[in-house]
C-alpha cells in the first residue's frame, strides 16, 4: 500500500479531488436549482382570483376591468379597478395592499395581461345620448364603431362604422359595399345573432376582430339590461 501511494500518490490525489468536486459540486448546483422552485412558491405574493369586465356606466371607460386579487401571507383579498393597459386604477373594496404589495400585484397583472387581453375595447361613452364608441384591431388598423342605445339599452337606434378595413379593393371581396364585413357583424349584433361565422373572402384579421367586438357589445348590453 505504501509503495503504491509513493508511486501513485499524486495521481490518486488528482483523481480524488476531481471526484470530490464533481460529487459535492453537483450536489451544490442541484441544491441551487431546486431552490428556484422554493423561492417561486414562497414569493407568490399575489394571485388573480377573478377578472371580469366592468360595465358600471360611471367607471367602465377608465377602468374596463375589475380584478379580485388574493395577496400576502394572510391571503388577503382586494377588488381593484383595472385600466385598459392592466394598470391599477383604484380599489373597489377589500383590504388595501401596502405599496410593496401593490408593486407585486401590478407586476402580476402586467405579466398576466396577455391571457385576458381582448382586441376590442371601449373608447368613450356619452350618458345623455347613450352613445358608445368602441374599437377593435383589424387586419390593417383600428376599426371604430359608434352606437346609440335605446333608453333601456334593449336595442340599438343607430350605428356607424367610423373607420374600417379596405379589404374590398385589396382582397377582391365581393360580399357587398365597403364596409360590408363590419356591417354584417353589426347587423347580426342588432338582430341578436351573436354567433356569426367568419366572412369568406374577407381578410383573416377582420372577422375575428369584429367577432371580439360583437362579443364585448353583447356583454355590455346584457349587463345594462340585466340579462345573462
Amino acid at each position: 500500500m505504501k509503495a503504491f501511494f509513493q508511486k501513485h500518490g499524486m495521481s490518486s490525489a488528482f483523481i480524488l479531488l476531481f471526484v470530490l468536486i464533481f460529487v459535492f459540486g453537483g450536489m451544490y448546483s442541484r441544491y441551487m436549482t431546486n431552490q428556484i422552485a422554493v423561492h417561486a412558491e414562497n414569493n407568490n405574493v399575489a394571485e388573480i382570483t377573478h377578472l371580469e369586465y366592468n360595465f358600471d356606466l360611471a367607471t367602465f371607460i377608465e377602468s374596463p376591468y375589475i380584478a379580485e386579487i388574493t395577496y400576502g401571507d394572510n391571503f388577503s383579498q382586494v377588488i381593484l379597478y383595472i385600466g385598459q393597459s392592466f394598470q391599477i386604477n383604484g380599489i373597489v373594496s377589500g383590504i388595501e395592499p401596502s405599496s410593496d404589495e401593490l408593486v407585486a400585484i401590478q407586476l402580476l397583472l402586467t405579466q398576466e395581461a396577455g391571457k385576458y387581453y381582448n382586441d376590442a375595447s371601449f373608447v368613450s361613452y356619452t350618458p345623455s345620448s347613450r352613445t358608445l364608441v368602441v374599437q377593435t384591431n383589424g387586419f390593417h388598423g383600428l376599426i371604430t364603431v359608434t352606437l346609440d342605445f335605446s333608453s333601456d339599452f334593449s336595442g340599438v337606434t343607430y350605428y356607424n362604422v367610423v373607420s374600417h378595413e379596405t379589404y374590398y379593393e385589396e382582397h377582391n371581396y365581393t360580399g357587398g359595399a365597403v364596409p360590408a364585413v363590419e356591417n354584417y357583424y353589426m347587423n347580426g349584433f342588432i338582430a341578436g345573432n351573436i354567433n356569426l361565422d367568419a366572412v369568406a373572402g374577407a381578410s383573416y384579421g377582420t372577422s375575428p376582430a369584429m367577432q371580439g367586438l360583437v362579443e364585448l357589445l353583447t356583454l355590455f348590453q346584457d349587463a345594462q339590461t340585466g340579462g345573462n
Binding site: 499524486m10 479531488l17 476531481f18 464533481f22 453537483g26 448546483s29 436549482t33 428556484i36 423561492h39 405579466q111
Partner: protein, 393 residues
C-alpha cells in the same frame, strides 16, 4: 518593433521600471479581476441574502463557483504538467511550474462569463476547454492563440447551454421574484423582439442607470459597467493594458449601434448606450480584448484589432445565432492577430509607402465592408420584423 511581432507575450519593459516582471502584471491584473469577483458575489449573493430572498448556502454559491473555477483550472494544469512533464512528478517541481503558469486567472475569467446557475459539471467541462484545449495544448502560458476563457465559454454556449438555462440560467432569486422582463437578459430580449424601442428594451429593467450600475440580469461578471470602468482605470494606472484598446472597441460599437438606430428611425442616444451597457461588451473590452498574448503587440495592431472586434461584435449581434457577439468577435479576431501584428508592425516601422499602402488599404476596406454589412443586415432585420408583425398580428 517588428522583431516583437508574433513572439511570446506578455512583454515587460524592464528598462522602464525596475523589479517589474510578469508576476507583477498578473498580480495587478488579479486585483482588477477581484473587483469584478466581489461585485458578482455582492449582486448575486450578498444583496439577495440581505433582501431575505436566499439561504446562506445560496449566498455563498457565486463566490464558491468563481473560486472553484480558478482552483479547477490550476488542478487541470497540474494534471497536464504531471502527464507531460517529468519535472512535475514531484510536488516541488509541480509547484514551480504552476507558479509561472497562472492557471487561476483564465478559470476565474471563464466563471465570470457564465450564468449564476451553471452546474458545476458544466463548469468543469468549460474549465477543461479553457485550460487544456485553449491554453496547455498550445504550449501553455504565453503561447496560446485564442483567449482561453472564451474557448471555454464558446464551447459551453455551443454544446450544453440549454442545460445551463434549464438549471436556472441568469436570474438570481431577487431577479426571479421581481421579474418584469420574462426571464430574459437585455440582449436576449433584444434578439427576441428585434425592435428599437426604449419601452420594450430598457424600461423592463428600470433605466440605463441600472445598466451602468449592473443591477440587471446577465452573466456573473459582465453586468456592472461601473466596476469594470474602475478596473479599467486601475489597469491603465498600473500599465497592465493599453488605455486605447477598450476605448476604441467600445467607441466602434457605440457609433455603429447609433448609426443602426438612425437608419432604422431611432436617433436617440439611449440606443447606443444600451448597446454598450448590455451584454458582455464592457467586460470583453477591458478584460479580453486587451489580453497581451492573443492580441497584437504593437499599438497600430491593437487599434486595428479593436476596430475589427467592435465591428464584428455589432455584426454578430444582428446575424449570429446567439444574442451576444463579444466572445465570437474576439475569438474570430484572435485568428487574425498574427497577420495584423505583422503587417501593422511593418507599417509602423517603415511608414506608409508603396509596399505597405496595399495591406493598409485592404485592412481599412475590409473594416468598412464589415461595418456597412452590419448596418445593411440591421435594416433587413427590422424590415422583415415589421413585415412579419404586420402580417401576423
Amino acid at each position: 518593433m517588428a522583431r516583437f511581432a508574433n513572439a511570446k507575450a506578455p512583454f515587460v519593459r524592464l528598462s522602464d521600471e525596475k523589479g517589474k516582471d510578469t508576476k507583477t502584471i498578473m498580480r495587478d491584473f488579479g486585483i482588477g479581476l477581484m473587483l469584478i469577483v466581489l461585485f458578482a458575489w455582492y449582486k448575486n449573493g450578498i444583496m439577495v441574502y440581505a433582501a431575505g430572498n436566499c439561504s446562506f448556502l445560496e449566498m455563498m454559491y457565486p463566490l464558491v463557483f468563481i473560486l472553484l473555477a480558478g482552483f479547477l483550472a490550476v488542478l487541470m494544469e497540474g494534471v497536464f504538467f504531471y502527464l507531460t512533464n517529468p519535472e512535475a512528478r514531484t510536488f516541488k517541481g509541480l509547484k514551480k511550474l504552476l507558479e509561472t503558469s497562472y492557471g487561476f486567472v483564465p478559470g476565474v475569467i471563464l466563471a465570470l462569463l457564465l450564468p449564476l446557475y451553471t452546474p458545476i459539471w458544466i463548469l468543469m467541462f468549460g474549465v477543461f476547454m479553457t485550460t487544456i484545449v485553449g491554453k496547455m495544448l498550445f504550449g501553455g502560458f504565453g503561447h496560446n492563440i485564442f483567449n482561453p476563457a472564451i474557448i471555454g465559454r464558446v464551447a459551453i454556449m455551443f454544446t450544453v447551454f440549454g442545460v445551463v438555462l434549464a438549471a436556472g440560467g441568469f436570474m438570481n432569486p431577487n431577479e426571479v421574484i421581481y421579474d418584469a422582463y420574462g426571464g430574459a437578459t437585455p440582449l436576449t430580449l433584444f434578439s427576441q423582439l428585434r425592435t428599437i424601442n426604449y419601452d420594450a428594451l430598457v424600461a423592463p429593467y428600470g433605466s440605463l442607470w441600472n445598466f451602468f450600475l449592473g443591477t440587471i440580469p446577465g452573466s456573473l461578471g459582465e453586468t456592472s459597467a461601473l466596476v469594470i470602468i474602475i478596473a479599467y482605470f486601475w489597469f491603465v494606472f498600473r500599465k497592465v493594458i493599453k488605455w486605447f484598446t477598450p476605448l476604441i472597441y467600445i467607441a466602434v460599437v457605440f457609433l455603429l449601434t447609433w448609426l443602426i438606430g438612425i437608419v432604422n428611425g431611432e436617433a436617440g442616444l439611449w440606443f447606443p448606450l444600451y448597446g454598450i451597457l448590455s451584454g458582455g461588451l464592457m467586460y470583453g473590452a477591458v478584460f479580453m480584448s486587451t489580453e497581451p498574448v492573443t492580441t497584437p503587440r504593437n499599438p497600430l495592431g491593437k487599434i486595428f484589432f479593436a476596430l475589427f472586434v467592435g465591428a464584428l461584435t455589432v455584426l454578430f449581434r444582428y446575424i449570429g445565432v446567439f444574442p451576444e457577439g463579444v466572445a465570437t468577435a474576439i475569438i474570430v479576431m484572435n485568428i487574425f492577430t498574427m497577420p495584423i501584428d505583422k503587417s501593422t508592425a511593418v507599417i509602423r516601422s517603415t511608414g506608409l509607402n508603396k509596399k505597405t499602402l496595399v495591406p493598409f488599404l485592404m485592412l481599412v476596406l475590409l473594416l468598412l465592408g464589415i461595418m456597412v454589412y452590419a448596418v445593411l443586415k440591421s435594416i433587413d432585420m427590422y424590415t422583415l420584423s415589421t413585415f412579419m408583425m404586420g402580417g401576423w398580428f
